[in-house]
């Protein structure tokens, strides 16, 4: 096997007469010398992430008074002040139920992440991250990665109701998945395709060949499920294809130190510790071009995140803790909210600290930050706090507070997807359907 592979050449793995052909993505072949941009001067590709932490914020304590680019940070968002020019704050928007039953903590989050209330086969839609991954996730080793800071393998990332992406709960497991033995340093001078990977790839192609005979034998719903399997198979084949290519250089890539094999769980200190580890791994994974899409969950709705030794939990406190008459909010609940804002702030800090020439990793990323309820104490579905961070390589203007009372939250998702370049003119269903992005943010 050649130890040096011309990156413009098509790889061929000959195996018993069969050939696997792996064409290199054209764009990746035209990088400038230092890997900070494509050779034609275009910036490195856009990345996308979602950040979700349940329970929202306290009404009156996060919405800027001023609208536009000169907004002020209210107390709860003060921690994001260093990123004021790199984020957008959206207030006043809501989720619409259209008469469908409310699954508390779920429905609001589903609408924020899918623009719809997914109900079986009637409305069965992918989440925003998977829509984005369809466009930008096909050239990386991992189409998307999902992590849960609180040790619960749930996520809002889904292709359909039958195909929900589970979150990784162990930082060490995520490290091994991305930076384990299969990791290839994109900045390495030499590259040797692994014959065993070539063999695995070729063998997998024989499973793909089963598709036609199997899928045709099924009715619509089961066919869709089996199609999802074959989509996953193509994804796995693609991961192996990528391992057979010389990766494009990534100037800011460095292999992180392996995290310890520590516990995971819902004690808040543990959540914060593991969150920091996950955040670091996400930054490294993006910087090394291993994925361009991630989903990070701080805490799902109604979770059992708690302080060690406390009988109550974050969620229980939202129901039970009295509002402090002087402060005007639930102090304990607000403390938990602040911890998850710390996690979000840390995510921005880590991405912003990765310098790629004149820009940072955060600058070529968009993070969509959503939640389940507007006011945790009453579990409301109005005035849902939404944020975006990062500028999508300048395609999304940042540093704005925009308010759209009574509008669907789907407007933010549509804006983000259009900024990334998805050919979408609308998003969402029924009352959450929108054709109105925040066009003032689209560069």
């Amino acid at each position: 096997m050649s130890t040096k592979v011309n990156r413009r050449r098509v790889l061929r793995g000959m195996l018993g007469g069969a050939a696997i052909s792996v064409g290199l993505p054209l764009l990746d072949c035209f990088l400038n010398d230092n890997g900070t941009a494509l050779a034609d001067g275009a910036p490195l590709p856009v990345c996308f992430g979602t950040w979700f932490a349940a329970m929202g914020y306290n009404p009156g304590f996060w919405e800027p008074t001023l609208v536009g680019s000169h907004y002020e940070m209210k107390p709860q968002l003060k921690v994001l002040d260093p990123f004021k020019d790199k984020i957008n704050v959206f207030s006043g928007m809501q989720t619409f139920l259209d008469g469908r039953p409310l699954a508390t903590h779920e429905t609001g989050a589903q609408i924020c992440t899918t623009g719809s209330i997914p109900v079986g086969q009637d409305i069965d839609v992918p989440s925003i991250d998977q829509l984005v991954a369809d466009t930008i996730g096909s050239r990386t080793r991992f189409r998307s990665i999902e992590v849960s800071y609180e040790g619960v393998p749930s996520s809002w990332s889904r292709r359909s109701s039958s195909s929900v992406n589970a979150s990784e709960v162990s930082p060490l497991a995520l490290y091994q998945k991305i930076f384990g033995p299969s990791f290839v340093d994109p900045n390495s001078a030499t590259f040797t395709p692994d014959p065993s990977v070539m063999l695995e790839r070729s063998v997998l192609s024989t499973v793909s060949d089963q598709r036609a005979s199997l899928v045709n034998s099924l009715g619509t719903a089961d066919r869709a499920r089996l199609d999802e399997y074959f989509t996953s198979l193509r994804q796995l084949e693609h991961e192996l294809d990528v391992q057979l290519q010389k990766p494009m250089p990534m100037v800011a890539c460095s292999k992180p130190t392996a995290p310890g094999d520590g516990p995971h769980g819902q004690a808040i200190d543990l959540v914060m510790t593991n969150g920091k580890l996950f955040t670091g791994l996400i930054a490294h994974a993006l910087a090394c071009g291993q994925t361009r899409v991630f989903n990070a969950v701080g805490t799902m709705g109604a979770s059992s995140v708690h302080k060690v030794g406390s009988e109550a939990t974050f969620h229980i406190d939202t129901h039970e803790e009295p509002v402090d008459a002087q402060l005007g909010y639930q102090p304990e609940v607000t403390w938990y909210m602040a911890r998850f804002l710390d996690c979000f702030s840390d995510l921005l800090t880590q991405l912003n600290s990765v310098r790629e020439g004149p820009r940072t990793l955060l600058d070529r990323t968009v993070i969509y930050c959503s939640t389940d309820h507007g006011y945790a104490r009453l579990h409301t579905l109005t005035n849902i706090p939404l944020l975006t961070a990062g500028g999508a390589n300048g395609k999304l203007k940042t540093g704005y507070h925009l308010t759209a009372p009574g509008d669907t939250v789907a407007r933010v998702g549509l804006t983000v997807m259009q900024a990334i370049g998805l050919p979408l003119s609308s998003w969402g269903t029924m009352s959450n359907h929108t054709t109105k992005p925040f066009s003032e943010l689209l560069a």
Partner: protein, 592 residues
């Protein structure tokens, strides 16, 4: 008979055939590999449009055919049964989807995500490497290659043919076997290792949808009846996963090949064999683990979790969490299988099993060593008369699983009793409701859970559902969030009086007796078990079948083995709705 498949059909091999060298084809043609049947008669599956839990019209004879994903336990058990229990699986399984109260029903709505397939791929590689390694090949591979450094299609075919039948739960077609031998051949040549070839071919089968999903191959339309019946191999799988939670063994597959499972007599004989096998215990354990939501002990659910605060409950260790599930399963197996007992007694039986770790939570002195000095593990234990504990509801696996991390929850326990044990549905809470007071344990005005819930229930929006959940849940208030016993909360004597649908009682013992005498409890078991077997809610004529099962369960004195036998020998378990539109080009039940 169904339609004939095209020559290019079958479970495709066009591309894979390119992998195989000409010698493979020659080997097959010359009979050096046992020829599997050609891609024979098609069988039909039409599973649309009803989903796994969809109700269907009253005139429908049967529900839709199911395409079910293997559960993690079924995957593990199948691998252990075929290759031995010392084979390490490696990798991890993603959480399963629960529908209609059961993971077994959710399995009919699950696909496989990219991350999951990556895990399956890793597991396949791990398993296959062990099967062909030096320590296993002598036992698991039925022949020795002429040379270990290259391909041997005859030996490979012998192994792959046998293993393929066990993995796919039906014989491989000739084309399929050609593909598998072709893979083994090509990989062996490349790696210069016969066993590497087998490894790759086996790993391929382990990620195939033929293995990872359970298919419902059927015989074709039955004149005008609106339904079809599962073919022999699908019957074998239906039986085996229901009763053993694993793939069919060779005896079952042989009976399927001979058509014996199609006759009532043959089916009954096989069901009796399976029920007499010790493997039925695995099936019963799997069912109750599913019904009692023990998956939430592994991966926390929103309202059920073994995530406990170790500073509040220092005795609740991961070992206790594992032992707690095992205790309940042992209790159930002992009563229902070993002693063929009355299902209603599971709520009152004083007979159980304990480990020293679990006994510490229960406050029961249990020696950590046996009289001969060996470490003590599981020991039979009988709660003394008058003990507040008896039956599975008082065990840690119920009262702790349905509690918060740091405090008990009458609401979660009451809801679980209604939904898990009695098969009732309690609506989700409405939005914009304050739950103020329920857990403000520091308010001196409301020192106990009862007083806090009483205050809470004054809200008319909440009252409707909480009057269903709270009264039975409060009867379990003598148990802390970790399942340990208590008599006081915040210094105040706990009032554990409760009620269930108008029947009043005191404490866990009263609740146990009330549930045991409630017809809804055994009726719930029957419903759940039927849905577990079908993999979906009953539809059409199956609704009447479930009613009959309930009647018969009473007549059989609530004996689980009798219920298992009746379900397993019912025609309804092997019928699927016939729509006639889709044709499944799988192997049929034709004998090799």
């Amino acid at each position: 008979m169904g339609e004939q498949t095209s020559s290019a059909g079958g479970r495709g091999c066009a591309r894979a055939l390119c992998l195989a060298s000409a010698s493979v084809a020659m080997a097959l043609a010359c009979g050096s590999v046992q020829a599997a049947p050609p891609n024979q008669t098609s069988v039909a599956v039409a599973s649309e449009p009803a989903g796994p839990t969809a109700a269907t019209g009253p005139t429908q004879a049967a529900g839709p055919a199911m395409l079910r994903r293997l559960s993690p336990d079924q995957y593990r058990q199948t691998v252990a049964d075929i290759f031995g229990s010392d084979i390490t699986i490696g990798g991890r399984f993603a959480p399963e989807i629960r529908a209609s109260g059961l993971l077994a029903v959710g399995a009919g709505n699950e696909s496989i995500t990219g991350d999951e397939l990556e895990q399956y791929h890793a597991m396949a590689q791990t398993i296959a490497a062990q099967v062909v390694d030096q320590s296993h090949r002598g036992v698991l591979i039925p022949c020795t290659p002429e040379a270990a450094s290259t391909a041997d299609d005859r030996c490979a075919g012998k192994f792959l043919d046998a293993v393929g039948e066990l993995l796919y739960r039906r014989p491989l077609t000739r084309d399929e076997l050609q593909v598998q031998v072709g893979i083994a051949h090509a990989a062996a040549v490349q790696e210069k290792d016969f066993y590497a070839g087998l490894r790759e071919s086996l790993a391929q089968m382990l990620v195939s949808p033929e293995f990872l999903f359970r298919w419902s191959d059927v015989n074709g339309p039955l004149g005008g009846k609106g339904y079809s019946t599962l073919d022999g191999y699908a019957r074998a799988a239906q039986l085996s996963f229901f009763l053993w939670n694993s793939a069919p063994d060779q005896t079952l597959l042989n009976d399927a090949r001979r058509g014996r499972l199609n006759s009532p007599r043959g089916l009954t004989r096989e069901v009796n064999r399976m029920l007499a096998s010790p493997r039925v215990e695995a099936g019963v354990r799997a069912f109750f683990s599913d019904m009692l939501q023990f998956s939430c002990a592994e991966d926390p659910c929103l309202d059920a979790s073994f995530s406990k605060d170790s500073t509040i409950y220092p005795r609740f260790t991961p070992q206790v969490a594992a032992d707690a599930q095992e205790q309940t399963l042992r209790t159930l197996v002992d009563l229902l299988l070993t002693h063929d007992g009355d299902y209603r007694d599971v709520f009152t039986t004083p007979r159980t099993f304990l480990t020293p770790d679990l006994a510490a939570v229960y406050g029961v002195p249990l020696p950590r060593t046996t009289p001969n000095g060996e470490p003590s593990k599981w020991q039979p234990y009988i709660y003394p008369a008058g003990d507040p504990r008896a039956g599975i509801l008082s065990e840690v696996s119920f009262v702790a699983l349905h509690s918060h991390p740091g405090v008990s929850s009458a609401v979660l326990r009451g809801r679980a009793l209604r939904e898990v044990i009695l098969c009732e549905k309690v609506p989700d809470p409405p939005p914009n409701v304050s739950f103020k007071l329920v857990l403000d344990t520091t308010n001196p005005k409301y020192p106990t859970m009862r007083s806090r819930l009483d205050a809470h229930i004054t809200n008319p929006v909440c009252a409707g559902c909480h009057r269903l959940m709270d009264p039975p849940g409060l009867a379990m208030e003598n148990f802390n969030g970790d399942g340990s016993f208590r008599t006081r909360e915040n210094g105040v004597l706990i009032d554990a009086s409760g009620a269930l649908d108008g029947k009043k009682f005191d404490g866990m013992q009263g609740l146990d007796q009330t549930v045991a005498s409630d017809p809804a409890a055994p009726a719930c078991l029957v419903s759940r078990l039927a849905e577990y077997a079908l993999g979906r809610a009953p539809a059409g004529d199956e609704v009447q079948w479930v009613k009959q099962l309930k009647t018969d369960f009473i007549a059989d004195h609530y004996r689980l083995p009798a219920l298992l036998r009746e379900i397993a020998t019912s025609d309804e378990l092997y019928r699927v709705e016939w729509k006639g539109a889709a044709v499944h080009t799988t192997v049929a039940s034709a004998a090799k």
